[in-house]
Symmetry: D2
C-alpha cells in the first residue's frame, strides 16, 4: 500500500493520561444519556446500574477509570444537548437532578462537538447543520482528512493518550454492495478516484487508517466490509461491532437457545417493535429499515437453524408518543412432545438509549484495554454486546458471555 | 450398617437386555403422556420433539435405545390409563391417533402397575385404591419390602437388566424436618422402630437400598435428606432430583442471568401460575403448596442475589378449566442506567405434562448410562433438568447446559 | 327499470316450511364450522355456546328453529368438506366426536354445493374447481343467471319457503371504485354491456334482484355500493353487512368507548394480528389486504375521533402454524390526568372460524325474521355483528347492542 | 329523631360563591394529584385530560366552574404535601413543572388541613399525627362534633356556599356487621352510648347529619349502611359511593358484557394486581384487603352470572418498586362455539392516583349540581364512577354510561 496517511500509528503521547471517547452522533439520545450519565457517575451522583464494566467479572480487569474518559464528537445536526436532555426529561428517562448534576461536564463535551459528514440520502433531515452538508459534499479523501484533523486537534487540546471512535449515528440507507468493499487496494483506489462512500465507512476508514480503535454500535456498514477488516489488520488496530444488542434481540438470543436445549420446535417467532425516538423516525423509510431488520432476524435464524416451516418476522413501527421507550412484543409458537402446541409471549418496555449508553461505556473500556495490550483486528470477546458480531460465532447470548468470561480469565492479572 | 437388604447389589441379570422404568405416579398425566409418547416413538408414529436425548449433544453418548425401555409403576389411585388418556384428549394434548397408536404397549404397561403407598395426609383423595391405603398403613420396613418385592417381580417377569425408579407422584404435604433425616444410622433406627416416614422417602430408600437408581422429579423429600445421600454413597447407586424444571422456573433461570450479565437491577419479579390438572388440585391445600413454592423462589433468588429491595412472589392458582395447560405470567420490574424504570412481562402457555414427560425419558437414559459406567451419588450433570438440583451449583440454565456439555465431552466415545 | 329478471319476487312456495341458507364459500372453514355445529346442535350433541340467538334478549323474538335451516352453497374450490373438517380437528377446533355427530347432515349439505364464480384476480389459487373458472369467465348477466338457477333448483329440491344468501368467501382484491357502482341504471347498463364485475357484487346482485335476502360477512364489495342499495330498496329485499366483527375489532369497539367515557387521551393504538388459515394466506397479497385493513382501522378512528397526534396501525401477518387460531396483540398508549403516560395491552387468542360461524347463524335467523315481517333495505339493528355496518351509526359496541335491544323491544310479541 | 344537630340544612350563605371540597385523606396521593392538578388547570397550565366533566355530554350541564372549588381536608398523618409531591415526581407521575405551577394554591390548601380521626386498628401506621390519635380516642359524638366544627370554620374562613365531603382515606380494617348499622334510631343510640364506630362511618354521619353531601371513594363503610341511607333521606342530603372504579375493575365491567352479548362462556377470570403506593402497603394486611377484594369480585360475578364452573380470583400484591403505578394482569379463559377454548389477556399499567383524582373532581361537580337542584339520597346516575355503586343496578359499564347520559338529557337546560 503506497497511500500516505496523515498521522503516524500508534497514537501515543507521553506524559498525557486522558482517553478520548469520540461519539459520532454526539447530539443523539444515546450520546446524551452517555454524557449525562458519565458526568453524574464521576461526580458520585449516580449508581453504576446497567454498567457491566463495574460488576464482576469485568472488575477483574484493569480497566481505565471513568474519570479518565474525555468526550468529543461529530454530529450532522445542530440541536443543542440541553434540548436533547429536555426531551429525555419529558420522556421520563433523564431527571432534572441528573441534568443539573451533569451540566458542567456536558458543556465541556458540547464544546468538543464538530460538524459530521451528512450522508447523501439524509439531506432531508430536520435540524441539519449546514457545515455537515458541506462536509458531506467533499471528495472522500477530503472528508477523511477533515475527520482526522478534528481528532488530532481534540487530542492536542486535551493531551489525550488515545482516542476511541464510537459510531452511534442513525441507521443509514441500505446500499447495494460495491465491489471496492471487498479489497483494500480496490477501496483505496476508489477513494483516490473520488467514488462516494457511505458516511459510516468513511468514519471507520479515517479511524483505522490513523490507528484509532473503532466501535460500530449501529447496523451501518462501518468497518464491516472485507477491505476495512484488512485495513485494521494491516495497521494493527482493534475494532468491533455491529449494532448494539439492547432489547428485543438480546431476549431472542437468550430465549432461542433454551428452546434448542430442550429440543422444542419453534414454529413461529413474530417480533413487533414500537419506538418513537429519532431512530424510529429514520426507520420509517423503507431504505433505512432494511439493514436493521436483517441483523435482527439473522441472529434468531442462526440459533434456531433454518428448519423447515419456521416462520419469523421482525417489524419496527414508529410510534411518536413512545419517544425513547421501545416496546417490543414477541409471540413465539412452539411445539413440544406429542405435538402439543405451546406459546411464549413477552413484552419488553425499555428506554433504548438508557440501555445502549452503558454498553458503549463498557465497550470503550474494553477497547482501550485491548489497545493497551496490543490486541488488534476484531475483538471477538465483545460479541455479547452486538446483534451482528463482526467476529461471528454463535449468537447464543450465554455462549457469548462465556467467551467474555474466558477472555477475562486469560487477561486478568493473576492473584 | 448391619441392616440386611432383600436384594444384592448391583442388580444385573446376564442374558437379559430390557431396562425397567418404574414410574411412581403411574396413572398421573406425566406418566400417561410418557407411556403413549414412548409407545408412538417406538412405533415410528411420532417425532422426538422435546426429547433432548434425541438431539445433539446427547446423541454423542451411547444411550439406551428407546425400544429397550419397559414400563411399570406404582399408583395410589385406580383410575384406568384409558380414562387419563381420554382426559388428555379432551384437553387437546393427546390426539385420538396417538391413543390408538399406543394402545397395545400402554395396555402392557398397565398390567405392570401395582398399588402404591398412600401418604397419611392424602387419605381424602378421590379414586384411592384401597390397597394403597392398606399399604400406606404398614410399618415402614414392611412398606419398603413390599416395594422391593414388586420391583423384583417386575424384573423377573420381563428379564430386565436394571430398573430405574422415577418418582412422579403429586406434591406431598410439607413436614417439619425430622432429626433422623440427617444421619443414615438414625434413619435406619427410626425405620426399625416403625417411625412413620413420608412416602417419597420410603420409595427412595427402597430403591437406593436395593441398588436401583432413583430420580425424584417432584419437590417431595425423596433422596434429598443427608441420610439418603449417605445411603446412595454407601451402596454406590446413582440418583438425581429434585423437581422437574419445565416451565416458569425454566424461564426464570434463563432470563435472570441476562439481567445479571447486563448489570441491570431487578427490583421485582412476580410470578403467577395457573393450572387445572390434578397437581393443581392438590396444590390448593396450603400444606402441599409450601414445598413447591419454595423451590420456585429459591432458584430465582440464588441467581439475582439477595439484593436489598428485591421483591419476589410466586403464586400458584387452581383453575380447573385449564386442565393440564399451565399458564404462567411473570412481571419483572428492573432498573437500568440513569435509574430508568423498565419492565419485562411474559406469558407462558404450555402443557405441563407434555413438557415433563420427555425430560423423564431423557433422565432415565442419562441415569442408565451413568449406572452402566459405574457412576454413583448425585448426578450433578443433570442439574439443567431440575428446579432444585440435588448437586447444587448455580441455577443459571446456561451454566447448567455447559455442565452437561462438559460431561458429554468427557463421557462420549472419542471419534 | 326495464330489465327482465329471471324470477318473480317474492320467493314463496305455499306448503313448504324449510328455510334455505346458501353459503358462498361453502368449503371454507367458517362454513365447515357452521355446518358441523348446526348439525350437532340439531342432534342435541352440542350446547349453543357463542350463539346470541339462543340467549336473551334475542330469545324473545319468534326466530326460526334451527332444525328448519337447510344448507347449500357455492365454492370455487373442490376440496371435500371432510378434508376441511380434518384440518380443523388437527387445529384442535373441531373434535372427532363433532365430526362423527354431524357427518350425515353435512353429507347432505355437500350434495347441495355448486361451483361458484372465480374472480379474475384469484385464478392462481390452489384446489380451484375448473367449473368455477369457467363460470367466472362468463359474461356478467350469464353469471348472475347461473347463480339464480342454482338457487331455484335448490329451493325446488328441498321445498324451501325462502333462501338467505350469505357471502363468506375470502377477501377479494381491492379495486378502484367504478362509476357504475353509484347508480342502479348505470350498473344495469354495465351488466348489459358485459363490463366485468367483482364476484361479490354479482352474488349480491343475483340475490337482491331475485328477492333473496343477502348477508355480506366479508369486507368485499357485496351489496355495499349505492347502486346495490337502490336495488334492495326497489325490490324491497332486506340485506346487511359488511365484515363480521369477531375478534380484535370487536375488542376495539368495546374498549375505545371506555377511553372516551373517561376522557382519557389515546395516543397510539397498534394492532398486530397473526393468523394461519386460508384467509391469512389470501391476505398475504397486498391487494387483498387493503380492504380488510381499512375497515379495521376505520372503526377505531370513528370512535376516538380524528384527534391530532393519534397513531394507529393494523397489521395482519400470515403465520401458517397457527392455522385458524387468530392471535391479536394490541398495544394502547394513553394519557391521563397530569399528562401521566399509561398503557393497556391485550392478547386475544381465538379460533376465527368458531367465532364467526355462530354469528352467521344469528344473522340468518334475524334476516329471516325481518324478511317475514316485510322489512327491507339495510337492517340497521344488526350493526353489532359487523366491522363496517352498512347502516352506519356509531361503531361503539354497546351502542350497537342497545340498538339491537331496542329492536327486540319493538319487534317482540307483547306478553 | 330527637337528636340535635349543630347546623341547619341546607348550608347556604348568601353573598358567598365558593364551593368547599373537603378531602378526607388530604395528604394521600389522590389528594395530592387532585390539588396540584386542579391548581394547574385553574392556572391554565394543564389540559383537562381524564376529566369527564370537561367533555361531552357532561359539558351540557351547568356545572360549577373549577376555579370556584376551595380545598380543605382531614388527615391522620402529618407528612407535608411537598413530600407527597416529591414522591410523585420520583414516581414519574407529577412533573417538576406541575409542582411549581401549583405551589401557591397547594400551600393554601395545606393551611386548611386538620387532624383526622385515627381508626383504632390503624394506630401502628407511620407518620401519624398525634392529634389524630387523640381525636380517634374521643367518644363518637365528640369525634363527630370535632369534624363538624372544622367544616364550619372552613366555610366561615372562605365564605363558602356549600362543602362537599369526599372520603379518600386508605382501606380500613374489615369489621363484622354491627346491628346498629341497620337502623338509624339504633345507630343514634349506639353513638349516644359511646359505642366505637369505624372512622369512615363517623365522617359520613358528621357530613350527612349536618346537611353536607358525602362521596365515599373507598370500599370503606362510609354511608353504605341502612342507617346512614335513612339519615341521608331524612335530612334530604345527596350522597354517593362506593370505591372509585379506576383500573382493573373498570376493564372488567367493560369486557364482561361483551362476552355476554356474544353468548361466549367465561370459564375463568383471574386478576392479579400489583401496586406499591401507601394503599398497597395498607392492603398487605389481610384484614384491610378483604373489603377491597370483595367489591372487585362482586362486580364481575354480577355481570357474568353465577354460572356453574366459573372460576374467579382477584389478588392484590404489594410491590414497592412500582410506587403508584398499578399493574394489573387479567387472564380470561372462555369457550366459544363447538366448545373451542379461547383466551383474552390484558395488562393495564396506570397511575392509580392520576386515574382517581379527576374522577373525584367529576363527582364533586355532579354532587354540587345535584345538591343545587335539591336532589337527595343516593345519586344513582353516578354509578359509572364506582366499583360497588350504592344505588345498585347492573355493573355493566356501558349501561352505567347510558344512565348518566339519560340524567344529562333530563337535567340539561333545553336549547
Amino acid at each position: 500500500m503506497t497511500h500516505a496517511h496523515p498521522e503516524p500509528y500508534p497514537v501515543q503521547r507521553p506524559g498525557s493520561s486522558g482517553i478520548g471517547v469520540w461519539l459520532v452522533g454526539a447530539r443523539g439520545s444515546i450520546a446524551t444519556c452517555l454524557a449525562y450519565g458519565l458526568a453524574n457517575l464521576v461526580e458520585g451522583l449516580l449508581e453504576p446500574t446497567g454498567l457491566a464494566s463495574e460488576a464482576p467479572p469485568l472488575t477483574r480487569l484493569d480497566l481505565v477509570p471513568l474519570d479518565t474518559l474525555v468526550l468529543g464528537g461529530h454530529d450532522v445536526c445542530s440541536r443543542e444537548l440541553a434540548r436533547s436532555a429536555a426531551e429525555l426529561v419529558r420522556a421520563r428517562i433523564l431527571t432534572p437532578e441528573l441534568v443539573a448534576g451533569g451540566a458542567r461536564r456536558v458543556a465541556q463535551f458540547e464544546r468538543a462537538i464538530r460538524p459530521g459528514l451528512l450522508d447523501a440520502p439524509d439531506t432531508g433531515l430536520a435540524d441539519v447543520d449546514p457545515r455537515a452538508a458541506e462536509r458531506g459534499a467533499l471528495a472522500p479523501r477530503a472528508q477523511i482528512g477533515a475527520l482526522q484533523a478534528d481528532w488530532a486537534a481534540f487530542e492536542a487540546d486535551h493531551g489525550l493518550t488515545r482516542t476511541i471512535v464510537v459510531y452511534l449515528a442513525s441507521s443509514e440507507a441500505a446500499r447495494e454492495p460495491q465491489p471496492e468493499w471487498d479489497s483494500l487496494p480496490a477501496l483505496e483506489r476508489a477513494l483516490d478516484e473520488g467514488v462516494p462512500q457511505p458516511a459510516s465507512l468513511l468514519y471507520a476508514y479515517a479511524a483505522l487508517a490513523s490507528g484509532r480503535p473503532f466501535i460500530n454500535f449501529t447496523p451501518n456498514l462501518g468497518a464491516g466490509p472485507k477491505a476495512m477488516r484488512a485495513l485494521a489488520e494491516a495497521r494493527r488496530v482493534p475494532h468491533t461491532g455491529n449494532d448494539g444488542k439492547t432489547g428485543e434481540t438480546l431476549l431472542k438470543t437468550v430465549l432461542a437457545p433454551m428452546f434448542m436445549a430442550r429440543a422444542l420446535r419453534v414454529r413461529a417467532w413474530q417480533g413487533y417493535n414500537m419506538l418513537g425516538n429519532r431512530d424510529g423516525e429514520v426507520l420509517r423509510e423503507e431504505a433505512h429499515k432494511a439493514g436493521k431488520l436483517r441483523t435482527k432476524d439473522e441472529a434468531l435464524r442462526s440459533i434456531l437453524g433454518d428448519s423447515r416451516d419456521l416462520t419469523t418476522k421482525v417489524a419496527i413501527d414508529y410510534v411518536p408518543s413512545l419517544h425513547d421507550w421501545k416496546t417490543a412484543y414477541d409471540f413465539i409458537h412452539f411445539e413440544g412432545f406429542l405435538g402439543a402446541q405451546m406459546s411464549l409471549q413477552f413484552t419488553w418496555q425499555g428506554s433504548d438509549s438508557a440501555l445502549a449508553a452503558p454498553l458503549v461505556i463498557d465497550l470503550v473500556r474494553l477497547m482501550e484495554f485491548a489497545a493497551r495490550r496490543g490486541e488488534f483486528g476484531v475483538l471477538t470477546h465483545t460479541a455479547m454486546f452486538f446483534k451482528a458480531p463482526l467476529g461471528g460465532g454463535r449468537h447464543d447470548f450465554f455462549d457469548q458471555v462465556a467467551r467474555l468470561e474466558a477472555y477475562v480469565e486469560r487477561a486478568a492479572p493473576q492473584s
